[in-house]
């Protein structure tokens, strides 16, 4: 199964292994599976080094679309080209997709029960708390820089308070923020 290329190892990861490896990742995590992808790729199967994973991850986060799906596309293509991407992303999504639909169907059958409705509402409230915590954690490293704080506040106000469309918010904020990053890097160099 190894490829005749001069770039070192990655050889020997088959379509089946990609499918199964990412399937395991898909069913492992709740509210995001990126940490499990790292564990599978780096620690368990040694398909890539820590450094390579960090590079794949930062590219995945930089590109639009669901991050973990981007990871599966990049890793799959690296070992088996387009078919590898399909095997990895299908493996990743298949089980969670079926499980979540089974849960939804189950829920719609029992949602006349007050206990089920109340439990779901409470889960939703707690899950919201997890997202708030995630946002605050991500905000912490940015607090030292004034322009980054301003961008965070503007983004929050546009979407949460003014309920502006995301497209217009991004069209204004993203270039502005990138320009600020460029400018602050330029200032540092001088």
């Amino acid at each position: 199964m190894s490829e005749f290329s001069d770039s070192p190892p990655p050889s020997g990861v088959t379509l089946g292994e990609l499918f199964v490896g990412f399937m395991k990742v898909g069913v492992s995590g709740f509210g995001g599976v990126l940490p499990f992808a790292r564990r599978m790729l780096v620690d368990e199967r040694h398909w890539m080094t820590e450094r390579e994973f960090t590079e794949v991850l930062s590219l995945s986060q930089f590109l639009p679309g669901p991050n973990i799906i981007n990871v599966s596309i990049i890793v799959g293509s690296r070992y088996q080209g387009p078919r590898g991407s399909i095997a990895a992303s299908l493996g990743l999504m298949l089980m969670p997709f079926l499980i979540v639909l089974a849960l939804a169907a189950l829920y719609s059958r029992f949602d006349t029960l007050a206990a089920v409705r109340d439990a779901t509402a409470a889960v939703s409230s707690a899950a919201t708390g997890l997202i708030v915590a995630m946002g605050l954690k991500m905000a912490r490293p940015l607090l030292g820089s004034a322009w980054q704080v301003v961008i965070v506040v503007l983004g929050f106000a546009a979407i949460a308070l003014l309920r502006l469309p995301l497209l217009w918010t991004l069209a204004v904020l993203a270039p502005l923020s990138v320009a600020c990053a460029w400018w602050s890097a330029w200032k540092m160099r001088r």
Partner: protein, 184 residues
Amino acid sequence: MVERVEDEAMIPPVLIELAQQFGALSFLAIGGVNTLIPEIHRRVVDVEHWLTDVDFAQAFAISQASPGPNMLIVSVIGWKVYGFLGALVATLALCLPTSLFTYAISHVWNRFRDAPLRIAIQRGLAPVTVGLVLATGYVLARTTDETLIAYAFTAVTAALALATRIHPLWFLVAAGGLGAMGAT
């Protein structure tokens, strides 16, 4: 799972709309799907009236209580709109366009790895993403929390998640248990 529906005359309009709405959204997901939730809510509840606030909160809860990527909320919304086909179309619409894009870009990426503009873009997008994730928390709280006790669930979970290293799943399990016993 990647079959396309070709025959135009056979496709119910709502499926086409699902594909359009979520297909357009996928390219706006710059910091992962969590940044998209307010926009999904705006389109699905406020603009298209496919779901009520309560439906939306349920879809969110179900997707969080299920293992897997957090984009599954889109699958549940698709399911609520048009059953299994709706779920399939919504999920593919959110994944397929950006996956093709990622596939293409990842092959030329290494050439730009150290370009200053790339670094500026990456650094510049970070605070935008943070603002959007915080907005997601706010919009979800407004959508899902109907009572003061529900707000307390959100606040306590956020505080404990920040202060401790408890696995996130336990918060959902505990909340579900308390909710079922009528604590809210």
